[in-house]
């Protein structure tokens, strides 16, 4: 992975000695600095993002989330037309023999789902904010977006979450 290669060359440059499992130890220490958070999106504490454009909101999971999940091998998505509610599950992903529910950051009606994820679930790992989008929703209560975090707040949230353990 690019992250571990970067971390390895950084470690060499800084003359940090490599532990016996360099990928695990180095990737961990750098991951909270280098999980991407995009400006202009809103974020939930359960690590989903929302991109609100006009009457449609696109939803997916963040880079931080995909990193903590591991390689996604299966994605379960709702059908278009289904209602979703803020904080409730709308689908699931499977990685490392674990299925994890994905929660909806806003309420509304599903208008489109990313069918590419059936064939290529790994798009969630490689492109969590773009090609790995999961569903598009017509929001029923746009004011719910105000209860979500902005990019700076979410970055801090992730740092605090990782630092406290």
């Amino acid at each position: 992975m690019a992250l571990t290669m970067w971390a390895s060359s950084a470690a060499n440059a800084l003359r940090i000695s490599r532990a016996s499992k360099p990928h695990l130890s180095l990737a961990f220490s750098f991951s909270r600095c280098f999980s991407t958070v995009l400006d202009g999106l809103k974020y939930a504490t359960s690590h989903e993002w929302v991109k609100h454009e006009g009457s449609v909101a696109t939803i997916g999971i963040t880079d931080h989330a995909q990193d903590h999940l591991g390689e996604v091998v299966f994605v379960e998505l709702p059908e278009p037309g289904v209602s979703v509610s803020q904080g409730k599950g709308f689908g699931a992903v499977e990685s490392v023999k674990a299925t994890s529910d994905v929660n909806c950051p806003i309420s509304g009606e599903v208008v489109e789902v990313n069918s590419k994820l059936t064939e290529t679930p790994g798009l969630i790992n490689s492109s969590p904010y773009e090609e790995g989008w999961m569903i598009k929703v017509k929001p029923s209560s746009p004011s719910e977006l105000e209860s979500l975090m902005g990019s700076k707040e979410y970055t801090k949230f992730c740092e605090e979450e990782d630092a406290s353990h």
């Binding site: 359960s46 490392v96 023999k97 674990a98």
Partner: protein
């Protein structure tokens, strides 16, 4: 820094698969509402085949109608992972824990479940290791000794791990275990020349490895754990 971590252990003996599933659903709900601490179920199942969310029933090699003849049940679940077999002399742990409170993502959680079984194996001189990419589980060489299948809902885990102490490995011939075609299944009995203590002792060792790896400071044993809670029946 997080405060002291408490784990409540339920030693349940033999439990029918569906009963255990219903109990887990209730405990997940209770844990989400912080009504109970992190809880660990330790048990065995009668002969049971289970499928995960992907419903890979093409990996069941006998017709479902013949399962009764071999004394086994089949259940579909929401856990991750492929088809597997559970049966007597296989130690099962179902942790119902809050990953958010303990600060773990799915990947780290599963790695610690693998480490739990690897550590137990090492107590008997068996060198086990985690699977290669895509082959989550615990292996002794090319032979699988421990399986994992987990569900995470609102950050609370259910299902868990199954470690082969000495199950009847013939049951595995009726499936493509975990969807991996060219690998064998093995057991602690097969891999070690050490005389095994009682299964209860091995279960306790497994619980001990788990609680140590997950950093629990306090481990309490629930008195007389029952499928039925104090106030209600499982309908």
């Amino acid at each position: 820094m997080r405060g002291p971590l408490k784990l409540e252990v339920w030693k349940m003996g033999f439990v029918n698969y569906l009963d255990a599933l219903k109990l887990q659903e209730k405990l997940v709900s209770d844990r989400k509402l912080c009504r109970i601490p992190d809880t660990l179920l330790s048990l065995q199942h009668p002969p049971t085949y289970t499928l995960g969310k992907r419903r890979t029933d093409h990996n069941l090699l006998i017709p479902a109608s013949e399962l009764k003849n071999i004394g086994a049940e089949l259940h579909y679940t929401q856990r991750g992972g492929d088809i597997t077999f559970h049966g007597p002399h296989q130690a099962i742990l179902y942790p119902i824990i809050s990953l958010r409170e303990i600060g773990l993502g799915a990947r780290n959680y599963v790695e610690k479940l693998e480490s739990t079984m690897i550590e137990l194996s090492s107590l008997y001189g068996v060198k086990a290791c985690a699977g290669q990419k895509g082959e989550t589980g615990v292996w002794v060489g090319e032979r699988k000794i421990g399986a994992i299948g987990v569900r995470i809902s609102h950050g609370i885990t259910s299902h868990g791990l199954a470690f082969n102490i000495d199950p009847d490995l013939k049951y595995f011939k009726h499936i493509v275990p975990c969807g991996i075609t060219d690998k064998e299944v093995t057991s602690l009995r097969r891999e070690t020349s050490t005389v095994l203590p009682s299964e209860e002792a091995i279960h306790e060792q497994l619980i001990s490895c788990f609680s140590r790896l997950f950093g629990y400071n306090t481990v309490v044993w629930k008195e007389n754990p029952s499928i039925l809670s104090d106030h209600e029946e499982i309908a």
